[in-house]
Symmetry: C2
Subunit: 263 residues, 2 copies
C-alpha cells in the first residue's frame, strides 16, 4: 500500500492533475471517481495506472475488480494520502491515469456529418458541459482550436461526464485556415455570431456541416467568421449577448442535429 506523497508514482500523478505541461509531455491524464473510472474502463480507454483505497474496495468491490482487470497496473493507496492528492471535493478513492492517445481521435471530416468546432473556449466547466451535450445529442465529432483550455484537465474530464472517453475529437493548430480549406472543399461551415447572421430556427441542416462556437467573451475571431459558408444566430428577445457559452452551444448543436428540410 502506498502511503507517502514522496512515492514516484504519486508525485507523477499529482503533476498530471495540476499541470497542462505534464499532461502534454507524458501524454497522460487523470480521471477520478467511481463513475468516471468505470466509464473509462467500459469505453476502452487505456488505463495505465489505477489507484484505489481500501474503503473504495469495500464499498464497490465489483466495479473495482472490473477496473483493475483492464488497468496495466493497480495499487492500493492509503485513504489519508488519497484525500491529499485528490482534486475533488468528496474523494471516492478511485483514480485512473489514462493515455491521451485514446481511440477517439478523429482524423477526417466526412461530408454530411455533423460536427462542432470550438475556438478559444477558456472555461473548463463550459468545455466539459459542451462535450457532454455533444455526446448526448449525437454530434459526430468535436474540433478544438489550439487555444482552447486543456481537454484533459480534471475539471473538463469531470464536467464531460466521461464524454471525453467516447466522443471523437481533434485539435487544430491552424484553425482558421483549416476551416477555410473545408469551406472551399464544399463542407458547410456555420459561424455562430450575433452580427449579420441568419436566425438559426429558419435554417436547414440536412446537408450536415460544422457549427463553430467562439470564446466566452469575444465570440469567434473575425477571420474565422469570414472563412465560413454562413453565419447563424440564436434569436434573442432579452438583453444582447446574454447566453452562457455552454447554453448557446446546446441550442446550436440541437438545431444542427434536429432541424432539416425547412424551406
Amino acid at each position: 500500500m502506498i502511503t507517502s506523497k514522496d512515492n514516484e508514482l504519486i508525485k507523477e500523478t499529482v503533476k498530471l492533475i495540476k499541470s497542462v505541461k505534464a499532461r502534454k509531455d507524458k501524454r497522460l491524464f487523470v480521471a477520478e471517481g467511481l463513475r468516471l473510472c468505470r466509464d473509462a474502463a467500459e469505453s476502452g480507454a487505456h488505463i495505465v495506472t489505477f489507484l484505489y483505497t481500501k474503503q473504495a474496495e469495500e464499498k464497490n468491490s465489483e466495479d473495482l475488480a472490473f477496473i483493475r482487470s483492464v488497468a496495466d497496473r493497480s495499487d492500493e493507496i492509503s485513504c489519508e494520502l488519497y484525500n491529499k492528492i485528490s482534486d475533488t471535493n468528496s474523494p471516492q478513492g478511485f483514480l485512473c491515469v489514462i493515455d491521451t492517445r485514446l481511440n477517439t481521435v478523429m482524423t477526417e471530416i466526412k461530408k454530411g456529418g455533423k460536427y462542432v468546432a470550438l475556438e478559444n473556449i477558456q472555461d473548463p466547466s463550459n468545455l466539459g458541459t459542451i462535450l457532454r451535450t455533444a455526446e448526448a445529442l449525437g454530434i459526430d465529432g468535436v474540433i478544438l482550436s489550439r487555444d482552447c483550455c486543456d481537454i484533459y484537465s480534471p475539471k473538463v474530464v469531470r464536467g464531460s461526464m466521461g464524454a471525453v472517453f467516447r466522443l471523437p475529437f481533434m485539435q487544430k493548430d491552424e484553425f482558421t485556415s483549416w476551416i477555410r480549406e473545408l469551406t472551399k472543399s464544399g463542407i458547410n461551415t456555420y459561424a455562430s455570431t450575433p452580427h449579420e447572421a441568419e436566425n438559426i430556427s429558419r435554417m436547414d441542416f440536412s446537408g450536415g456541416g460544422i457549427m463553430l462556437i467562439g470564446n466566452e467573451g469575444n465570440g469567434l475571431k473575425n477571420e474565422t467568421i469570414a472563412a465560413c459558408t454562413g453565419r447563424v444566430k440564436i434569436p434573442m428577445l432579452g438583453r444582447a449577448e446574454s447566453l452562457n457559452a455552454a447554453a448557446a452551444a446546446a441550442i446550436l448543436m440541437y438545431e444542427l442535429m434536429n432541424h432539416s428540410g425547412r424551406g
Copy 2:
C-alpha cells in the same frame, strides 16, 4: 469610512451573503461587482445599502455616482474589510444590499404566454444559468417550486447576470397541485422527461404554455408529470440522461419560444 467587521451594517451584510434564513427574514439580498450593481440600479431594483471602496470610486467614478444616486444609503468601506467580506474571487469593491420585494414578482399566468417552471433545482450555478437563458430567449416568466435552491443566493444572482432583477418570477408552495389547476383551466403544461414523451422537435408551441423542468438527478416528480397536459423529451442519440440541467433547459426553452406552426 467603515473599517471594522464588528460594524452592525457589515455584520448584517455578511449574514445576508451567507444565510438563506437571514435573506428570508430580512427580505434582503446581496449583489456584488460593478456590472451587477449597475444592472440592479438600471433595472429599478430597490437598493437599500450600497457599499464601495475608494479604489472602486477612483476606477469607475461615473458608475459609482449613478448607483449612489439611487441607493437609500451609501457607505465607503476599507479595501481590507471589503476583501474579507466579499463572496467573489476578485472583489471589485461594489456591493449592493437589495430588497427582495422586486417589481418583477409575477402574480398570474397569462393564456398564450410562455413560461418555465422549475421543480427542486438544487445547484445554484444551474439556476443562475437557467434564469440568464430564460431572459435572453424572452421567456415571459419563471415559476420556482419551494424546494428549489434560494434564488437570492450570491451564486444564483451572479450566474443569472442580473436576470434576477428583471425576469418576472414567482415561488409556489403547492407546486404540483398548482400545476394541476392550471392544466384544468386550459393552460398547456409540458413535463420534460425522457420517459414515454413526445420528441420536442416535432411539437407546436404556438398556443404558449409552461415548460416544466425537474431536479438535476431525479427529474420531475411522478405526480407533477401526471398533472401536466403532455410530456416532451429532447431527442438523444448518445448515452441516456446525459444532459446537464442548464443545457437541457436551454434547448427546452428555445423550442418553446421558437417553434410553432408544425403540423
